[in-house]
Each structure stands twice: as structure tokens, then as C-alpha cells.
């Protein structure tokens, strides 16, 4: 594996039991993702993009093949080891934000740092910084129920990035947002990708996102049908 390889997947097969049979969601997928890449897993519903994202994040297991994330094989790691990997090196952004409703913006963003046992002073500093990245300083004490969809997603971004992970996975991050908010979110993510050198992997079929991606991996029926790198002016 090259030094800057973040994800390395070989012959990945994922089957789900359906009734008495199995549905194959991913078929012989081979893929390498590198540090700092801004990659989209693109395809229609049922193409396997979310399944692939979940496997990369260690949230789901493989049926066949090997998956190495940050030089660690996910095939024979325990739940606890995978949890540690996610806690230290990964961030997640979900379509429906998945913010904890009883926490404020500050507390939601603080949670990964608490799990990583960062001391209080440093936590406050990092949380304030992350909230500033996403432009929510004035809303730091608001609860998710008081925020707009765009603000919720920005909070989720701050939570995913507060511990400055190597890899951030975003599952349809703009699906619940209008065009203006979607562009704002993508601009924030592009900026953070450049500043923090964090790798981003998106699962999406939102055309608005395509214009920001530097690598697009097209999936159809569980197979990669196209893998293209795109030169952007700002890259």
C-alpha cells in the first residue's frame, strides 16, 4: 500500500440475506483512495454506494474480499477495534444529520472529543474552532430543534471534523437541503478538505455535488463502472 493510501479494497463482495436467499449489493469491487481526495461514490438508488461507505467506515462487515482502512485490515478486527478506528481517524456526516436532540450545537460537536478523552480546555478550543469553520458561532448554544436544515448539517460537519480525522464519510449530505444550502455546505467541505488535508468520501446521487468532486466513482448494480479524476480550477 502506498504511503498516502487511505483506503484499499480488493475483490469486495457484500451479500445481504433476503428471505431465504441472498442479495449481492457489491460485486468484486477494487478501489484505492488516497489522502486528501475529495471522492464521490455516485450511482442510482440500490447501486451499493451507501453499503460501500458503511463498509469503509467499519459500520458493516464484508462477505468476501479485503478492506484496509488507514493500513488496518477490517476483515479480522473486533467491534471495539473498529470503534476505536472510527473514534480516532474517521468522521461521519449523515443525510438526516443524526444530531443528538437534547444537546446544544456545542455539545454535539464536543462529543467526539469527549469520547477521545481530550481534556476540557483543549476541547473548548477545538469545538469553538470547528463551529467557526462552519459559521455557527452565534448558534453554539442552540439545540437542533431551533436550527434550520442547513445549520443542522453544518453542525454535523463540525462534529465530523472537530477531531481532525484522516477520513470523513458523508452519506447523501445534501439530500435534505435546498440548492443554496447544498452549495454552501459543499463550499465549506471543499475549503476544509484543502485546509485540513482530510479525505472525503461522499455517497450521493445529487447532481449539485458533482461539480465539487475531484474524483467520481460510478457504481451500478454493485459494480464500479467508471472511475474518473477531474481537474478543477481551484485544485
Amino acid at each position: 500500500m502506498e504511503n498516502n493510501t487511505v483506503i484499499s479494497i480488493q475483490n469486495l463482495v457484500k451479500r445481504f440475506p433476503v428471505g431465504g436467499d441472498f442479495f449481492t449489493a457489491l460485486k468484486n469491487v477494487d478501489l484505492d483512495l488516497h489522502r486528501g481526495e475529495f471522492t464521490g461514490l455516485v450511482g442510482p438508488s440500490g447501486s451499493g454506494k451507501t453499503t460501500l461507505l458503511n463498509i469503509i467506515g467499519g459500520l458493516d462487515s464484508v462477505s468476501e474480499g479485503t478492506v484496509r482502512v488507514l493500513d488496518q485490515s477490517l476483515d479480522n478486527t473486533s467491534h471495539n477495534e473498529r470503534a476505536k478506528l472510527r473514534r480516532k481517524y474517521m468522521g461521519f456526516i449523515f443525510q438526516s444529520y443524526n444530531l443528538l436532540p437534547v444537546y446544544t450545537v456545542f455539545e454535539n460537536v464536543e462529543l467526539p472529543l469527549i469520547l477521545n478523552k481530550i481534556d476540557s480546555d483543549e476541547r473548548i478550543k477545538k469545538v469553538n474552532q470547528a463551529i467557526e469553520w462552519v459559521g455557527l458561532t452565534s448558534k453554539r448554544n442552540s439545540k437542533p430543534s431551533m436550527l434550520s436544515g442547513g445549520e443542522c448539517q453544518r453542525t454535523a460537519i463540525a462534529r465530523a471534523l472537530v477531531h481532525q480525522p484522516v477520513l470523513v464519510m458523508a452519506d447523501e449530505p445534501t439530500a435534505n437541503l435546498d440548492a443554496e444550502n447544498s452549495h454552501n455546505i459543499m463550499k465549506i467541505l471543499t475549503k476544509l478538505n484543502k485546509e485540513l488535508d482530510t479525505s472525503f468520501v461522499f455517497a450521493t446521487h445529487d447532481e449539485k455535488i458533482m461539480g465539487y468532486l475531484k474524483r467520481i466513482i460510478r457504481l451500478e448494480d454493485g459494480k464500479i463502472i467508471k472511475d474518473e479524476k477531474i481537474k478543477r480550477k481551484d485544485s
Binding site: A83, F92, L100, E107, K117
Partner: protein, 391 residues
């Protein structure tokens, strides 16, 4: 770390936490209150018997057996010197017991006639009324239940027939001069009380006594002769036996209350935890291990139990204290149903009851927090994130 998150979760979920704590606290309160009420009823029965009948204990004539009325005619004599001096010092009250028959409204009814010193203050009975009415031949004091059964009222006269010391039947008119309210059926049902001097005169048993009840905290006298000392433990053994026999019933009731409380707490906790499947999935996604998820939710349950205990102390504690201090008035008169019960029930909350209930409620809350969170943590994080229903 987990404690901080658990505490934050509980504080943040204001209404949910309040409802969970309230349900637990109400269960806590109800178990203690109802069990205390039950214990109080039994304690009260014992205390009433001691106050109105036993006092500090008794000395019995060797032939006296309250369960065998046929022996009453032989169970009397003058007092041995040791007991007699106690009576003279007003530290004991003598009672002369005999069989008799009364004829209220022309119907015969066998009774136990007891002559008692009207000036006594050893047992809690209104015997002083027996000296106030000197116009009647035989002034009689009866209990409310006895009056109800015989349909006798204050001032009613009725015939009393008895067997005197010579074995001769005599009869005379007795007059009800007072009807006493008592919760001790043993001094009420089937009993008539007359002044002891009158009883001695009727029975031709001058200076004779069947038993003596002595004041509380009075020491046992030495010169008993053939008389027998009966301490409080002996005299309340029938009540103790009844309480012992009632224990399984009490335990069953405690278990039922605990089960009802457990179901209530279980419902509240399970609903609360299963609704948070997505939250659990999110915690796993950001790196919390399964064991920590279980520990977090179990800890939330534990804190919930602590808060419920605090709520039980205040304000429910005030209700418990108030009822223990002033009792609860009975809504209906149970004597009409043939029960002799206190007009106010005074619950007794023993330390054992409070400690055992607290431990059991904590065990229940922690168990019903642990089990569903363990089940939900075993889900795949992807299923939990989707908010998939746990079966």
C-alpha cells in the same frame, strides 16, 4: 466520561427524564406506603391489645385459662401478698372473671362477666364510669360491637344470671351505663364489665380475683404463691401468631406491588431506550464501543433511580411522614361489616422496608435499563442508524 454524558443526556431530555423519574418515584412511594399501611395495621392491633388489655403483663390464678370458660368457676382466690401489695399501691388492676348469661330484649346470650376496679388507670378502658352511676343495681360497661349485637343502648336494663361461689344461680337487673368505643374485640364482644366489688358481692367471692394486670415497666414480684406470671410476649402470642400467619399474604402483596412497579418502570425505560435507536447508532458511528453504549444507558437508569429516590424523599416523603404522624381516617365504618378496625390507620415505615424497597427498585431500574440497551447495542450500527425497530 460516561457519567458526564449520562448526566447530560438526562438533564437535556427534560420531560422524558421527568416522566421516567416520576413513574419510578410513584412506584417507590406506593410500595413503601401500602406496605407501611399494612405493617401499621398489624402493629396497631398489637398496640391496642397492649394498651387496653395487657399493660405491662399479668398474674393469673393457676386455674385461669381464658380459652376455657368452664374453668372460670374455679379460677379465683385472694391474692398472694406480693401481688396484693402491687394492687394496693395502684400499680396493678384486679379482675374477677365468671360466666354469666344476659337476656337483652328477652333473648338469652352467654357472656363473660368481668369485675374490674373502676378507679384503675393501668389499662386504657373507661372504667371510671362504673362509679358514677350509683343508682343502678348493677352498672354495666359494654363495648360498641357488643351493644350492636345485643341491640342494647345507654340506659337499657336487662337481666343478668350468674352462678355464685355456692353453686347457686342468681339473677338481677343490669343497666348499661356506658358504651365504649374500642378497637380490641377481646374486651368487647361477649363481655360485660361491672365494678369488681359488685361482682364479688354477686358471686360471693369476697376479696377474690381471677387475674391482675400490672402497669407497664413494673418489675415481676417475688411472692407469687401458686399464681402464674404472664409477660407481654406470652399474652400477645395469639396476635403474633396471627401476624406470622399473615406474613405470606403481606409478602405476596409486596411482590405484586413490586411487579406492578417493575412493569411501569420497564415500560417507561424500554420505550425511552428503543426510541433512541438512532442515537445509539450515531454514538457507535462516532466511535463508542458496544459495552460503553450499554454502560451509558445502564448508568442513565441508575441516575434515574437516584433522582427517583430524591423525589420520593421530597415531596412524597412529606406525605409518608404526615401519614405516619397523623394517620389516615378510614372512609367507612367497618364495624357495620363485622370488622373491628381502627378509625385511623397509622402506617409504620420500618427501616427494613425502606432499605429493601430502595435496593429492589434500584435493581429493577438498572436491570430494565441494561436489558434493552444490551439488545439494541447488539444491532448492526447500520440498522441502529436507520432506526430499525428492535424485535
Amino acid at each position: 466520561m460516561l457519567f458526564k454524558i449520562a448526566f447530560k443526556n438526562l438533564l437535556g431530555a427534560k420531560l422524558r427524564t421527568f416522566l421516567n423519574v416520576l413513574v419510578t418515584s410513584i412506584s417507590f412511594f406506593m410500595i413503601i406506603f401500602v406496605s407501611g399501611l399494612y405493617d401499621g395495621m398489624r402493629q396497631h392491633a398489637k398496640q391496642v391489645t397492649i394498651d387496653t388489655e395487657i399493660a405491662g403483663g399479668a398474674y393469673w390464678h393457676p386455674m385461669y385459662d381464658p380459652m376455657d370458660p368452664l374453668l372460670f368457676e374455679d379460677a379465683h382466690s385472694t391474692l398472694p401478698p406480693g401481688i396484693d401489695s402491687l394492687v394496693q399501691e395502684k400499680k396493678a388492676v384486679p379482675v374477677l372473671v365468671s360466666q354469666a348469661a344476659i337476656y337483652p330484649h328477652g333473648r338469652i346470650m352467654p357472656v363473660v362477666m368481668k369485675g374490674i376496679d373502676p378507679n384503675q388507670n393501668i389499662i386504657n378502658m373507661p372504667t371510671e364510669v362504673l362509679v358514677k352511676n350509683k343508682n343502678t343495681d348493677i352498672p354495666v360497661l359494654i363495648g360498641r360491637e357488643m351493644a350492636s349485637k345485643t341491640k342494647l343502648e345507654m340506659g337499657d336494663s336487662f337481666t343478668i344470671r350468674w352462678l355464685d361461689a355456692d353453686g347457686t344461680y342468681d339473677a338481677d337487673e343490669g343497666t348499661v351505663i356506658h358504651i365504649m368505643d374500642t378497637e380490641n374485640f377481646k374486651i368487647d364482644i361477649g363481655q360485660i364489665w361491672v365494678p369488681i366489688e359488685k361482682a364479688r358481692e354477686m358471686l360471693e367471692m369476697k376479696n377474690e380475683v381471677t387475674y391482675v394486670s400490672y402497669a407497664k415497666e413494673e418489675k415481676e414480684v417475688n411472692d407469687l404463691g401458686t399464681w402464674v406470671h404472664r409477660d407481654v410476649d406470652y399474652l400477645i402470642q395469639d396476635i403474633e401468631a396471627a401476624i406470622e400467619a399473615d406474613k405470606p399474604g403481606n409478602q405476596i402483596m409486596f411482590a405484586i406491588l413490586l411487579c406492578l412497579a417493575a412493569i411501569g418502570i420497564f415500560n417507561a425505560q424500554v420505550l425511552s431506550i428503543f426510541r433512541r435507536g438512532k442515537e445509539i447508532g450515531t454514538l457507535m458511528a462516532i466511535g463508542m464501543t458496544r459495552s460503553k453504549v450499554v454502560a451509558l444507558f445502564t448508568m442513565e437508569g441508575g441516575i434515574n433511580a437516584v433522582l427517583a429516590s430524591a423525589l420520593t424523599v421530597f415531596p412524597f416523603g412529606i406525605i409518608l411522614w404526615w401519614t405516619a404522624e397523623y394517620g389516615i381516617p378510614m372512609p367507612i365504618d367497618y364495624t357495620e361489616m363485622g370488622f373491628l378496625m381502627a378509625t385511623r390507620l397509622i402506617p409504620v415505615y420500618s427501616m427494613g422496608l425502606i432499605v429493601i424497597t430502595t435496593i429492589l427498585v434500584f435493581v429493577i431500574v438498572i436491570t430494565v435499563s441494561y436489558l434493552p440497551s444490551r439488545k439494541i447495542s447488539k444491532m448492526k450500527p447500520t440498522d441502529a442508524l436507520r432506526g430499525k425497530i428492535v424485535s
